[in-house]
Symmetry: C2
């Protein structure tokens, strides 16, 4: 069985920098996980907790961080209850190109929504989505996209929504990989989640994606329970059905946009503790990484660099170009991180 | 050493009712905990996990619920990851009369706020608060109270706020009991928290009080960590200080009022799972109890009845009167619960 060992490595940039500001590392080349292999946990080596990682300073930084913060005799020891590690999802734990999985779900749901509300069939942006014209759909504005998200992610009960997502995930497949989306995770990052948990860290997802959406599969896919999923949050409304049984309906009301500054704000809201380690891959994760690093003691902040076009996608700094569409990770952020890491 | 054994019991109403709708019990007379005793965990008997509870159907309902939901051979078995128990705080875990502790904190903070903003000294409701006229303060409207809450609970950094609350709790004392507020907890309920945790339940606070306020002391007082405190939530704003260090400021923006319907909504937002057991004492807890009961399998929903005027306060149904000021628990809710419990 093939083991994903990040053979195609174009960059290996990382370092450790101790002190109150903690460690800032650029995590390069961890994106070689072949989809599907992520679930084959039996193949993981027993001795090396991160067998899919090349022996780079990035890996060493992680191992050092874990050793120092879990060793009671270390001045950097962190009590178990404070061991929080937060992970962005899209582009950090699973593939985000060419389009966020949740957006695919929303687009796929448009016909069902139009069936319930036929007047939408001739209204934009629903008309364009129904046309199936991929070029036109790709050109939809953010404003149009929000209309689609609101129409497809709200208006039903929380339970109905969860069932819809589950049904979709069971049948939908990625067009390039021909696999369910839940298999498009990065094996090295799955190993990292487990390694941190084995060492007493509680792993949280902190995603710009919908909190209710990610909660449906996070336990099965990442081993992360619903209460440890922080995402973009919408309001719900409590009411009663005909039999007097209470239920919650998803409202088109944004409580918190869990991107950019919303990530540390969401972490405070949902966890109430500052993470000791944080992992992201785009400018939308910048504030989460900054907030993590700004805590006292040893902290670990890492960025995933997407540089493997063959086994995943190469974009952002790996191409020397800003990518403003999906998972924007500009060369400027890359350079800033490299500078902070003393590279 | 005195053991609080709920000697003054005026009502003992409880029952168990299995089935899909679960158990609804009226928990009477658990309010005899003498303040301060709550922390003497050494005095708890080893054999009886609830030594401060009289041997009533209420106690039996709890013990039965725990036994059935944690016994793998039982049809009512609940997997450990789903064992969630939620507790209202004011009037359920600690004393709420004659005034919510957090409101006392806010009133006590008014002079400091006015010192920073002298223009408030002659503006209502601050002028009334500064006058020290207890009668006039007690008559302030809800609208005035919200002005005081906004002025005293927001505008500072999250860290500064936490430090302020901690400092206040270390020095302020209740006027009747002459003890720190953190000692005014109900010993039987502290035992219940521990009993549930010992049996794999994760205990959450779900309070109308401020989430950031309660998180400051919940770990020390109740053994409940910050991430398991759900409360009324305000927004925060991420920004940088002069040295470029990021911090979060508490904004006067209400994200969720964690009372009434806000309780199940807050539970969904923060936990994403339906509780198996819920405990409250007022009409503000009604929806949380309903939502808990509406889940499948065996559920436990209980109300604390305040009937001990000597060792705590007697109010609400124990007086046969609605109490609309603090911890409103109307005879109607009492009667409905009793009816559902088959009493």
């Amino acid at each position: 069985m093939e083991r994903s060992t990040t053979k195609r490595v174009t960059k290996r940039i990382t370092t450790t920098a101790g002190g109150a500001q903690g460690i800032f590392s650029l995590l390069a080349s961890v994106l070689a996980a072949v989809a599907g292999l992520a679930l084959n946990t039996q193949t993981l080596a027993q001795t090396d907790p991160l067998p899919s990682w090349n022996d780079t300073p990035a890996k060493q930084a992680i191992v050092n961080f874990v050793k120092l913060t879990t060793d009671k005799s270390s001045s950097r020891f962190v009590p178990p209850e404070e061991r929080i590690a937060t992970f962005d999802q899209d582009g950090t734990l699973w593939v985000e190109h060419p389009i966020y999985t949740q957006v695919v779900f929303c687009l796929d749901r448009v016909p069902a929504v139009v069936k319930e509300k036929p007047e939408l069939a001739d209204a934009e942006p629903f008309k364009t989505v129904l046309s199936g014209d991929r070029g036109a759909i790709a050109k939809l504005s953010m404003r149009d996209l929000f209309k689609i998200l609101a129409a497809t992610l709200t208006g039903m009960s929380v339970d109905e929504f969860g069932a819809e997502v589950k049904k979709w995930l069971d049948t939908a497949t990625d067009s390039r990989w021909k696999r369910p989306y839940t298999q498009l995770t990065y094996l090295p990052m799955i190993e990292l989640l487990k390694y941190l948990r084995t060492n007493g860290y509680r792993t949280y997802i902190v995603t710009g994606g919908g909190q209710d959406f990610v909660r449906v599969y996070a336990e099965e896919v990442y081993g992360i329970p619903p209460e440890q999923v922080v995402g973009t949050m919408g309001g719900t409304k409590y009411s009663y059905d005909k039999e007097g049984k209470p239920f919650l309906t998803k409202k088109p009301e944004l409580l918190l946009n869990d991107n950019d500054a919303g990530k540390p704000e969401g972490i405070h809201l949902m966890i109430g503790r500052r993470p000791y380690a944080a992992f992201g891959n785009s400018t939308g994760d910048r504030q989460m990484l900054e907030y993590t690093k700004a805590g006292e003691g040893l902290r670990l902040a890492m960025l995933v660099l997407h540089d493997d076009a063959k086994r995943e996608y190469a974009y952002g700094p790996a191409q020397g170009l800003p990518d403003t569409k999906v998972g924007a990770f500009t060369p400027a952020l890359h350079d800033e991180a490299a500078k902070q890491a003393g590279l």
